[in-house]
């Protein structure tokens, strides 16, 4: 199973809708995968065997699996060392919420593992096509978004998916926008558009500082996060002989991003939703203050 993108796979397939995925990602923040889920994902126990064992308490499974001859004690030890990835947390949340049983979960995990390509890129391509973006822009946006989502999970310690609904940021008021232009062989502007509440949460998670309002430090933290992601993208493209430069980030308060060839992607995370905005030109007016 491509566990990093399991949630995205389920959204792309229409297995989970926008509301369901938002709720599950919230649950993932407090969920630790049980050993049964890990064993299923690792192929150590089949879904049908797990279904036969049901019902059992999540924490009782290691003992039960050894007693029933499903796993050796040494296998249990190894499985307990497997890292609790976002995909495993989601699998546990799907079971806990009753949205799937072991058989359905096993089927979906196998389908996700067999799927070709990148679920994140597929989602962006689909949205770009709906937005009638040219193929070149669509590919750039897809590639960038995949890196952005990986970075979001890595630096802000959250599960995240692109969902197909219109991003809700609470309207034009009490919002923040941070954007940065990339220029050169490939040119576009990437940005984050969020309600102040989500903006502060993002700032806090990235900086690991106590930030409780959308102040200068919050703006600086989210701008630095975007700068780092854009930098990683520029470096990736640099390896393929594309020469790109970054401009200084811009900050906007209570504005509404309006760029040309603009794609607004709704990003759901464990701490709420925001919009990732990609456009051909700048959509935030003010530069970062000093």
């Amino acid at each position: 199973m491509n566990s990093l993108y399991f949630a995205q796979f389920l959204v792309n397939e229409g297995t989970l809708d926008s509301q369901e995925v938002k709720e599950l990602l919230r649950q993932c923040e407090e969920t630790e995968p049980g050993l049964a889920v890990v064993a299923l994902a690792e192929g150590a126990v089949s879904a049908s065997k797990l279904a036969e064992l049901m019902p059992f308490e999540k924490d009782a499974f290691p003992h039960l699996a050894v007693a029933e001859g499903l796993l050796f004690a040494s296998q249990v030890e190894k499985l307990q060392e497997v890292r609790a990835t976002d995909g495993l947390k989601l699998a546990q949340a799907l079971l806990d919420s009753g949205k799937m049983d072991f058989v359905e979960l096993g089927r979906q995990m196998a389908a996700c593992g067999a799927a070709e390509g990148s679920p994140i890129k597929d989602a962006v391509r689909r949205l770009a096509e709906d937005n009638e973006e040219p193929a070149a822009e669509s590919e750039t946006y897809a590639e960038f978004t995949e890196l952005f989502m990986r970075s979001l999970m890595r630096f802000m310690d959250t599960s995240a998916v692109i969902d197909f609904s219109e991003p809700e940021c609470g309207g034009m008021y009490a919002t923040h926008t941070v954007s940065q232009r990339l220029t050169g062989s490939v040119s576009f502007v990437s940005g984050i558009y969020a309600s102040d509440k989500i903006f502060v949460e993002m700032a806090q998670r990235y900086s690991r500082e106590m930030i409780d309002e959308a102040d200068e430090m919050a703006e600086d933290s989210v701008a630095e996060f975007l700068n780092v992601v854009n930098g990683l993208f520029v470096v990736d493209l640099g390896k393929r002989d594309f020469d790109l430069d970054l401009e200084t980030p811009r900050i906007g308060k209570n504005t509404h991003p309006m760029g040309s060839h603009q794609l607004r992607l709704c990003v759901d995370t464990g701490f709420g939703a925001f919009a990732l905005v990609l456009a051909a030109d700048e959509f935030t007016l003010k530069e970062r203050p000093f």
């Binding site: 700068n227 640099g238 430069d245 000093f290």
Partner: protein, 145 residues
């Protein structure tokens, strides 16, 4: 034992000095967060930390405060890091300058190394990278004295 995180808070408490006095390091970045985090990191090594928000300020502080080493971002308002590096190297050719930037393309690496930068650290940095950077700044500064 060393620990490394990507924003760089934990580290060893090994102190680095220059002939018995603290190493004086100028941190140049338009991000207040980056300056704050790097200050904490450098102070754990016993460094004295100066700050600049852009390339223009970095050049002025290099002339006024005579740091032993400079961390320099590239993407900054007013005067960017590459222009600042060029000027710093004109006025203090031996001063160790390490680029610390998100824009670490092969082209930028080549350009800054040609201009005399000692090294290039791609953001996000790790504590280990910073410790190595200070050590190389200290060696270079010691050989200049």
């Amino acid at each position: 034992m060393e620990e490394s995180n990507e924003m760089g808070l934990e580290n060893t408490t090994e102190k680095m000095d220059l002939n018995g006095r603290p190493l004086r390091i100028l941190v140049t970045d338009d991000s207040k967060l980056l300056r704050k985090k790097l200050r904490v990191e450098l102070e754990t090594f016993g460094c004295e930390v100066l700050e600049a928000e852009n390339g223009k300020e970095a050049v002025m502080k290099t002339l006024q405060d005579r740091p032993d080493g400079v961390f320099l971002d590239i993407v900054m308002p007013e005067v960017g890091g590459i222009e600042a590096l060029r000027v710093i190297k004109e006025v203090s050719p031996e001063l160790p300058v390490i680029m610390l930037s998100s824009a670490g393309t092969p082209q930028k690496l080549m350009e800054t190394l040609k201009l005399g930068a000692l090294d290039f650290i791609q953001k996000p940095y790790t504590s280990v990278q910073i410790r190595k950077a200070i050590e190389s700044m200290r060696k270079k500064a010691a050989s200049n004295e």
